[in-house]
């Protein structure tokens, strides 16, 4: 039903993204890279979701979120970049109350709750904090760091205006009077808004399990019991204890730490039957960081199964497991008490030998599980999408990004608890599908405005402008201005209104042009938070005929020092920043950026946008999504037919028939114009000067060449070949895949013993293959369903039933499947007599004694090994791990990029994964490849700090050639000097760093200017600092 005429005037975006956490932001960035307009909605007062709370996340133990951003601008921080993104509109404090219409044309009704502070007027000065009389527990820190009714959002939050918590506010009006800008409006009403969008992505995230519901662990009652989220804030330098490990009861050092796993996970009694998947990793990280913060800390982790989430996480976990001071105890904690005298936490548990144990600790950390957000029910209802029995968005195994309503996509923890890596991938998949519903032209490269004639020959004339950004900066500016008057080489020092205002813009333009200035230092409140200021500055520069490089911006706020979440205002720091900026500008030549011309490679071969290598679920998903985004795609598969490992599945996969899915995708690929070549291999590939790849294909019919702008590697993995347990010698010994075939044919396997971790988590293959536990559970359930009398025993090391697969584990135990744990140093032994039944002997790790299990079939859960990769991949510089899988550019933020322009990967070639994940990765890789192709030209034009070589000085040592991560350096062999391939140069400056004599230079960062900046920085050594107010 088309929407009525009354909606014609509504703001129209291509995609509405609900939830501005990591998944929502990633989806939004990819979509804007593809030229789509996006509305980004969140119920919180600011965007960023949970990651304002996280300093360091696994597997890198760093924040690194600034790597996430897919677009063009110099990446700084995803929330800040969102504020600057012209295609993105942000709706904080906003709920979706209804969605009408259909895919391609939805009408969203929104309810925006009041902030009670006008973001346009609030300067974040903090006067209101001094007068607000009420406080209560903080939503992030719990009771550990209370918060006032009016409060400052986290540093990096957008919008950064203060917020009033209506549940605490008493309407006393003190803040209204205290606010110098009149920004507080206690009677601000909620608003109803509406918006039109072609597609909707929902990624509202998760909510931690309320730990007080697990009464026996005493959270909220005992003094020294905290949740993992509170502990996360304790170990954060901006959190409640500013990175110090202390006992909440008395503030004394917390050295003996206990971590309790699965609190509100895998627990039917509290209605959380599923595994939250990420808590084991969070605990491993927290224990390691605790040890880093205090070398004397000892960490004890009480756990049931260690669930590292696959290949990379297994490596991470292994490092933590063997770290000194960290002890893992496999058990279930029965209760937590506290000593009334010492307030120590006393943990009571039954160890594996069946003995009751009691240990005391300074602090217990409950690794809480994660559930759907509180608003999930209302949101699902408003969106008209179904939820599954666990309360998460219902999606299917092979259409994992699609909700039950066409045009509405789901990503991230709203589908099930998951880590950043998986959330980022899912966001990419949702973005790809949403973009196919909302066609748009990619943005064209902006022509740089013309410079004023003769600029290059003008002597430098520098002006310093101080923006009047708010009362809180007044004293700072006075001190600064006094000092600036003494600075040499400065033609003007002036005060102007803030550049965020039109008055500031006009004043700057008028005074700079009066004074004939050609270099400007602008000191203002952080302009990055104010997109208007950036636009104003652009207008000023165009008016003056100056390039961007004629300006240095200096933030009045310094980055908060460690242990402080309030921006510092340091007059000495600001003075240093300003004189460094001035010193560099005075020496900076204002030459136009050399034009980079890239002659297109002569069409020696058919030109395509993308080539996908590998026709499994990942490759098919990538190829189809790219073709539906309008790209010309070739899909190459070595096998005679498409489908890959998906063909091995017997029967349904979580309710979907793989064969039907495959047939439907193949048909859709045909409609979308994907060229498919089976029986074909890519035998050679080389990067062309125009940044495309020339590929040589070989098939039984002969060889041919094609050229493509992007490559997607989806070569998959293979099941390992077991070399033990009489496999290959006795037909009763088989792999899970082989069992699947027999079950598919209706063969009764008899009594079955399954052995997990065969050829996985071994010395030779140290990684976890991720899928084998779930596969074993599915097969065990199938056997029990068809032949209930059959005995099924699963021998395992850690039963890794992630997420909803835990329900299979539960069902299997209820159906009588036996689970016996073995230790890796005591692997099961198999006796396979020619006459008589098989017999498996295993030492039960729980009982500590051997038991014998007769069986008709022995099923080996073999791990996955990487498919053989073509040698040219490594020649192109694509990194391959020692285990044979590809290494992504950044495990969290660029999990599908390979560090080479235009080359992406998806599926099991990056490590063993479920079919569902292969599909998601394929679709996400499509989004990344399409974004890369759309931005290629603009990206090239955006690199200002391009490198160049002074040939007179170049000794031809090739250090720069080897150090350049972008292949932008080549040797000119005849002349024995290095040359720059400008089209490849990303302006990173590594070449300038390794060059010993300055032959390698970088535009805008040439050595003479840099030396001046350093010298200006050193000036402070020779003068007495001004007195400072301490920020915190």
């Amino acid at each position: 039903m088309p929407l009525s005429a009354r909606d014609e005037h509504l703001e129209r975006v291509d995609v509405a993204v609900i939830g501005a956490g990591i998944a929502g932001l990633q989806a939004a960035f990819l979509l804007t890279s593809l030229g789509r307009r996006v509305a980004l909605l969140d119920t919180a007062p600011w965007i960023g979701g949970s990651f304002h709370l996280l300093d360091r996340t696994f597997p890198t133990d760093s924040c690194g979120l600034c790597f996430m951003e897919a677009g063009l601008s110099p990446t700084f921080c995803p929330t800040l970049e969102s504020a600057r993104n012209p295609l993105l509109s942000i709706y904080p404090l906003t709920q979706v109350t209804a969605v009408e219409g259909q895919a391609g044309d939805f009408r969203l009704t929104l309810r925006q709750l009041p902030r009670y502070v006008d973001p346009a007027r609030c300067t974040a000065c903090g006067e209101c904090l001094a007068v607000c009389p009420v406080s209560g527990p903080s939503s992030d820190e719990g009771a550990l760091a209370p918060r006032q009714a009016i409060y400052r959002p986290p540093w990096r939050a957008v919008p950064r205006a203060f917020v009033i918590d209506p549940t605490l506010c008493t309407h006393c009006g003190a803040c209204v009077e205290a606010c110098p800008e009149g920004a507080v409006e206690l009677d601000m009403p909620a608003q109803t808004l509406a918006l039109r969008a072609g597609a909707v992505i929902t990624a509202p995230g998760f909510e931690p399990f309320p730990a007080e519901r697990k009464g026996e662990y005493g959270f909220g009652v005992l003094d020294n019991v905290v949740t993992s989220l509170q502990f996360e804030r304790m170990i954060s330098f901006s959190g409640s204890t500013r990175g110090r490990l202390v006992r909440p009861s008395d503030g004394r050092p917390a050295r003996r730490l206990a971590f309790i796993s699965c609190v509100g996970s895998r627990d039917v009694s509290v209605g959380r039957p599923y595994c939250s998947s990420i808590c084991c990793m969070i605990t491993a990280k927290q224990a390691a960081i605790a040890r880093e913060l205090d070398a004397q800390a000892s960490c004890t982790v009480f756990y049931i199964d260690l669930r590292a989430q696959g290949r990379d996480d297994e490596y991470y976990m292994a490092r933590r497991l063997n770290a000194p001071g960290i002890r893992y105890v496999r058990c279930q904690v029965s209760t937590i008490k506290q000593s009334q005298r010492t307030r120590d936490v006393i943990i009571e548990y039954w160890d594996e030998a069946g003995q009751r144990q009691e240990e005391s600790f300074d602090l217990a950390v409950l690794a809480v599980g994660f559930g759907p957000p509180a608003e999930a029910a209302a949101l699902a209802q408003a969106l008209g999408i179904e939820r599954n029995e666990l309360g998460f968005a219902r999606t299917s195994a092979l259409r994992p990004a699609e909700s039950s309503r066409p045009g509405v996509f789901a990503a991230g923890a709203f589908r099930e608890p998951k880590d950043i890596v998986h959330s980022v991938v899912e966001a990419g998949a949702a973005a790809a599908l949403a973009a196919t519903l909302t066609p748009a032209a990619p943005l064209a490269a902006e022509e740089p405005p013309p410079l004023r004639p003769g600029l290059e020959d003008e002597p430098p004339r520098l002006g310093i402008f101080l923006g009047e950004a708010g009362r809180q900066y007044a004293a700072l500016l006075e001190d600064l201005e006094r000092r600036l008057r003494r600075l040499r080489g400065v033609a003007r020092v002036e005060r102007i209104p803030s550049l965020a205002s039109p008055a500031g813009r006009d004043a700057l333009l008028q005074r700079a042009s009066e004074a004939g200035l050609n270099r400007l230092v602008i000191v203002d409140a952080p302009l990055r938070f104010a997109p208007a200021a950036e636009a104003n500055l652009g207008q000023v520069l165009r008016g003056l005929g100056l390039p961007d490089s004629a300006v240095e911006l200096v933030d009045m706020d310094a980055w908060p020092p460690a242990g402080c979440d309030v921006p510092a205002r340091s007059v000495n720091g600001l003075w240093d920043s300003v004189r460094m900026a001035a010193a560099g500008l005075l020496r900076r030549p204002l030459t136009p950026r050399p034009a980079i011309t890239v002659s297109p490679t002569p069409p020696a071969a058919e030109a395509l946008d993308a080539v996908v290598m590998g026709g499994g679920p990942a490759g098919i998903s990538a190829a189809l999504a790219m073709a539906e985004l309008g790209l010309r795609v070739l899909l190459v598969e070595q096998a005679p037919q498409l489908g890959g490992h998906l063909r091995e599945f017997a029967g349904a996969l979580d309710g979907e028939e793989p064969a039907e899915w495959l047939a439907e995708r193949i048909q859709r690929m045909e409609q979308a114009g994907v060229r498919v070549r089976t029986h074909t291999a890519v035998i050679r590939s080389s990067r062309q000067p125009d940044d495309s790849y020339l590929l040589e294909l070989a098939s039984p019919e002969g060889q041919e060449q094609v050229q493509a702008g992007a490559l997607v590697i989806a070569a998959g993995s293979l099941p390992a070949q077991p070399s033990s347990f009489s496999y290959g010698q006795d037909p009763r010994v088989m792999t899970q895949d082989e069992l699947a075939r027999r079950l598919g044919a209706g063969e009764d396997p008899g009594d079955v013993v399954m052995i997990q971790c065969v050829e996985s988590r071994t010395a030779e293959r140290p990684y976890c293959s991720r899928t084998c536990c779930a596969q074993a559970l599915r097969h065990a359930l199938r056997i029990k369903e068809a032949w209930p009398a059959r005995q099924v025993v699963i021998l395992y090391r850690d039963l890794r039933a992630f997420g909803h697969y835990e329900l299979d584990y539960l069902a299997a135990r209820r159906a009588g499947v036996r689970f016996i744990r073995y230790e890796p140093h005591q692997p099961p032994q198999v006796h396979a007599p020619t006459a008589g039944r098989l017999e498996v002997e295993v030492v039960d790790a729980l009982l500590g004694r051997p038991i014998r299990l007769p069986a008709d079939s022995l099923v080996l859960s073999v791990g996955a090994v990487p498919a053989a990769l073509p040698h040219w991949l490594q020649e192109l510089g694509v990194p391959v791990h020692a285990d044979g899988f590809l290494i992504p550019e950044h495990p969290k933020m660029r999990p599908l990029s390979l560090g080479r322009p235009g080359i992406f990967a998806c599926g099991a070639v990056l490590g063993p994964c479920f079919a569902e994940e292969a599909v998601l990765q394929g679709q996400a890789a499509a989004a990344h490849a399409a974004a890369y192709l759309a931005e290629r030209t603009r990206r090239r034009a955006a690199v200002e700090s391009i490198a160049f070589v002074n040939e007179r000085l170049c000794s031809g040592c090739e250090l720069c050639v080897r150090a350049c991560p972008f292949e932008a350096r080549v040797m000119n062999v005849e002349r024995h000097v290095a040359e720059v391939r400008a089209a490849f140069c990303a302006g990173c400056g590594t070449c300038a760093m390794v060059c010993p004599n300055g032959a390698s230079q970088q535009r805008l960062f040439e050595t003479p200017a840099v030396l001046q900046v350093i010298d200006a920085a050193l000036d402070s050594l020779w003068e007495a600092p001004l007195p400072e107010e301490k920020p915190c």
Partner: protein, 370 residues
């Protein structure tokens, strides 16, 4: 190992036998030319020379214990661009190691080079060598201690300090290796080669003693090195002491010119980068009250150190060239040792080791910044 052979020696003239061996390589066409130390102008000076004719090898001084230049630099001059000619280069251990570094830095290629590495007992300063010759002494008598690995300099002379603490008595990775230590010198000279040689030589069985002597030499010199480093580090614990110790540097750049690793076509300290505007000098003087001229002297050394420390082979020519007799070699080598250890890199060990500056390993230097 393909070949181990004795060089036939007549009348105890090991140098003569080596000349003959080299002439054999040249006349057999095994190499097109030889880069060897020769006495060309006067008796006092032995310098690298490029020899095309076998007869000219009469002037060759293979065992003269003096090193006027690092041969690696000369080899680089000949090979930085391919001429198609094959040249044999006579190299002491430090020269071979420098050549390997320069090859990695693309200032030389080994494609058409036959490296001939020779055992080394150490060298005299150029001036000392000349003085000894003038005084009628035989500097090559140093080799009398070769059998025991004992370098006993002539009375009143000492070996260069870099040689005294050099723990590399052999040129282990050369194509042809000339063994002199731990053998019956001058009656025995060992020739080792992976490839067949164009001259017939009687096969040799290397006495076990050689290995023992080499080990002893290494141990002794390592101890000497460590003592020198320890003394230096105690003497110069901080930047202030370093500045004081280098106060007599006249900034002649000799150390840079002599250094085989300083390969820059033009050092950044000879470009106008450090010629500041007059205004700048006054500003600095104003800031501190007084400004030493020329400026940037310590910065020159630290920058040079920063550039060559990963590849320093410890040949010590920098110190030999210093007119102020500053212990530059000890400074550079002691820092180089720490830096190379940091990257598990040993300058000159192998062509296969990647230069630390040109390699990125995600897991290295993880302690930094903590």
């Amino acid at each position: 190992m393909a070949i181990q052979a004795w060089l036939p020696i007549e009348g105890g003239d090991a140098a003569g036998a080596l000349r003959k061996f080299l002439a054999g390589l040249l006349s057999a066409g095994y190499v097109d030319a030889l880069l060897v130390p020769c006495r060309l102008v006067g008796e006092e000076a032995v310098t690298p020379a490029l020899v095309e004719s076998p007869e000219a090898l009469e002037a060759c001084e293979p065992l003269a214990p003096v090193m006027s230049h690092n041969m690696a630099v000369m080899a680089g001059r000949l090979t930085v661009m391919d001429t198609g000619r094959r040249v044999g280069v006579w190299l002491r251990p430090c020269e071979l190691r420098a050549l390997i570094e320069l090859t990695k830095l693309h200032q030389a290629t080994l494609d058409h080079v036959l490296t001939i590495g020779v055992d080394c007992l150490g060298t005299y300063e150029v001036a000392d060598y000349a003085a000894m010759v003038r005084a009628g002494k035989q500097p090559a008598e140093l080799w009398r201690g070769a059998a025991d690995g004992e370098a006993v300099p002539a009375d009143g002379y000492v070996l260069r300090s870099a040689c005294r603490m050099c723990e590399y008595p052999t040129a282990a990775s050369a194509d042809i290796r000339i063994g002199l230590l731990g053998l019956d010198f001058p009656r025995q000279v060992l020739v080792e080669s992976e490839e067949p040689l164009p001259v017939e030589l009687p096969p040799a069985e290397v006495p076990a003693r050689r290995q023992e002597v080499l080990e002893r030499v290494r141990a002794r010199r390592t101890a000497e090195r460590d003592a020198a480093f320890a003394a230096w580090r105690a003497e110069v614990p901080d930047l202030r002491r370093l500045a004081e110790r280098f106060a007599t540097c006249i900034r002649c750049h000799n150390c840079m010119v002599a250094c085989p690793i300083c390969y820059c076509k033009e050092c950044i300290f000879r470009t106008p980068t450090f010629d500041h505007e007059p205004e700048q000098y006054f500003r600095w003087a104003e800031r501190r009250g007084v400004l030493r001229m020329p400026t940037d002297t310590l910065l020159f050394h630290i920058t040079r150190l920063n550039h060559m420390a990963t590849s320093c082979v410890g040949c010590g020519l920098c110190e030999s060239a210093c007119p102020s007799h500053l212990p530059v070699a000890t400074l550079f080598r002691s820092v180089a040792q720490s830096v190379q250890a940091l990257f598990n890199y040993e300058a000159g060990r192998s062509l296969k080791d990647e230069l630390p500056l040109a390699t990125f390993r995600e897991d290295e230097l993880t302690d930094l910044g903590k």
